[in-house]
């Protein structure tokens, strides 16, 4: 694969920055990280693979990362990298979109694969997971968002040397005022990184019954995920746990689908799993066509028996 010259990366979280730096090293000759944070964090970016750090300075609690869009935009226009990769958090999407609008292009979102063939070619899911679309930007700079798991972080290399360039802050013209931050009662779960996942769907009749799936997950050392209706219909689990085209995309070794019918939107989130196991009472559920192992039966009978067997086997 040929390489492009300059790749820039922006991420909110350090783990994501490490993955994007690794991706940048694969795709480009030079990697620059745009960092808002402490001096130590700029050093960290270099050990994770950046050659250059554009340092926006220390984060001030009264500011928001979005306040730096104008600063980053001026820098982009000046340095004209071939590719800018952004972590697709809500903030990341807003930042990428505002930068793209000002640069006269669209963000190529949620890249599942990036390939260099003269231009940067980006593949991502469309139509609720029915297809992968490959697109390229016709502008000088391509802007993409790249989710967790597309690239694997490189081992930290403390001998790496790099440049840290301090960037002056430009006051934004349309600043939004931060009144308050509330903590969200959210489970910090990273389904994308889980080796084993138990997914629950509407075959579960009551919210409290999710604990049966949780118990099974505990027995096999798995995380619990769910289909969209569980997170955004009945709200039994937080949205961080939902799997599918607009939720998490999994690459676990084992995925166990409990009471999940297997709509295409859900299947795209799991079809990269090495092994898929399904429990569903409906023989015609599409999930069985995509399963390695399955049981057509009542999950309220199957799960307790399975849990018992795993316990007995310890």
């Amino acid at each position: 694969m040929s390489k492009i010259k300059k790749v820039w990366v922006i991420a909110e979280k350090e783990s994501a920055l490490a993955q994007l730096c690794a991706g940048g090293r694969q795709l480009g000759e030079e990697v620059a990280a745009v960092v808002l944070g402490t001096k130590e964090e700029t050093g960290k970016a270099i050990t994770m693979g950046a050659d250059t750090v554009y340092w926006l300075g220390e984060f001030k609690p009264e500011n928001r990362m979005e306040d730096y869009v104008k600063t980053v935009l001026e820098l982009l226009k000046q340095e004209r990298p071939d590719l800018l990769m952004v972590q697709p958090t809500k903030r990341g999407k807003l930042i990428a979109g505002r930068l793209a609008a000002s640069m006269g292009t669209s963000v190529l979102v949620d890249a599942a694969k990036i390939k260099i063939d003269e231009k940067v070619q980006v593949t991502h899911l469309v139509y609720g997971g029915a297809a992968f679309r490959t697109e390229q930007s016709l502008t000088e700079t391509t802007i993409v968002t790249v989710g967790a798991g597309v690239y694997t972080a490189l081992p930290e290399d403390t001998s790496r040397q790099g440049n840290v360039i301090s960037v002056d802050y430009l006051e934004p013209s349309n600043k939004v005022k931060l009144l308050e931050k509330k903590t969200k009662p959210s489970a910090t779960v990273n389904l994308g990184a889980a080796k084993r996942v138990v997914g629950v769907g509407r075959g579960i009749a009551n919210q409290e019954d999710i604990k049966i799936a949780e118990e099974l997950a505990e027995q096999i050392g798995a995380e619990v995920g769910c289909s969209r209706p569980i997170a955004e219909g009945v709200n039994w689990l937080p949205t961080e746990r939902y799997i599918g085209v607009s939720g998490a995309i999994l690459k676990p070794e084992v995925y166990l689908a409990v009471g999940i019918s297997g709509q295409v939107q859900h299947l795209v989130g799991v079809n990269q799993a090495k092994v898929i196991i399904a429990v569903n009472k409906d023989k015609a559920a599409p999930i069985f066509k995509h399963a390695d192992y399955g049981i057509v039966g009542d999950l309220y009978k199957v799960l307790p028996l399975l849990i018992e067997k795993f316990k007995a086997n310890k």
């Binding site: 979109g97 292009t105 469309v126 600043k175 931060l178 961080e240 069985f288 390695d292």
Partner: protein, 256 residues
């Protein structure tokens, strides 16, 4: 408050056919209003019901937009008026071209206090158009907004991020993209549907807006259904102890 709610019409996913060569055919697809856009219309209605004003609906796309059932569909949910920008080139538009066309429509409408968009389109779900539109209009813009409270010439909004909720004060005019859980869109009554047929629809082409030169900055190389992964397909029937034992043994084998 002068509110413009944007929407997109999308092919019904159920009707998308995967062809032998893994390409997709949308030929037999019914078109519908993007489900996440209904939240944006509903937010607009609730705001004007609370503080007065008017909601207009705006969409850009190709001739599918002219379908009278879809026009009635959006107007039956409350907006007083509908504006459409129709051009063949907008049929497969990307986020930037869509935002450019929406901006041209908004410039032609003349003024606004608040533009609302859904969380993402029902087909491509890039979650970018509202953001781009705000930037192109050079007004404050936010995504992931889960609550809006009008406060004079400002809004106080809650923005739900991954690990926190921001409470923000936004000066109007602004462009806001709302989450799907901000409300439960209303179901139009027969009376609403009948009334919708009498509302004003204004349609422009790109040349009416002086934007016939706008270009799409990205290019689609291919759109292909994912390759099927071969699965073992060892499916047992029944939920007796013996059957579960067989499944258990297979899971055990895979976990090792």
């Amino acid at each position: 408050m002068n509110v413009i709610s944007c929407y997109k019409i999308v092919p019904d996913e159920q009707d998308i056919v995967v062809l032998q060569d893994r390409n997709l055919s949308l030929e037999r697809a019914e078109w519908k209003i993007g489900q996440y856009d209904l939240n944006a219309v509903e937010v607009g209605m609730q705001i004007v019901e609370a503080v007065g004003g008017k909601v207009s609906a705006l969409s850009v796309g190709d001739k599918q937009l002219e379908n009278s059932k879809l026009k009635k569909g959006i107007l039956s949910r409350g907006p007083e008026e509908l504006f459409l920008v129709v051009d063949e080139r907008l049929g497969n538009a990307d986020a930037y071209l869509t935002a450019k066309a929406l901006k041209a429509g908004i410039d032609k409408i003349g003024s606004f206090d608040l533009v609302l968009c859904g969380e993402g389109s029902g087909d491509l779900y890039s979650q970018q158009v509202g953001i781009q539109l705000g930037e192109l209009l050079n007004v404050p813009t936010l995504n992931a907004v889960s609550k809006i409270t009008p406060a004079g010439d400002k809004l106080v909004v809650e923005r739900t991020l991954e690990n926190e909720i921001e409470v923000l004060e936004v000066m109007l005019p602004a462009v806001i993209s709302v989450t799907t859980d901000i409300n439960q869109p209303r179901i139009p009554s027969m009376k609403n549907i009948l009334a919708a047929g009498k509302k004003t629809v204004t349609q422009w082409g790109l040349s009416d807006l002086g934007t016939e030169g706008i270009q799409k900055p990205t290019e689609i190389l291919s759109t292909l259904a994912p390759e099927q992964v071969d699965r073992k397909q060892i499916i047992f029937e029944g939920d007796s102890e013996e059957v579960v034992q067989k499944l258990f043994e297979n899971i055990q084998k895979e976990l090792l």
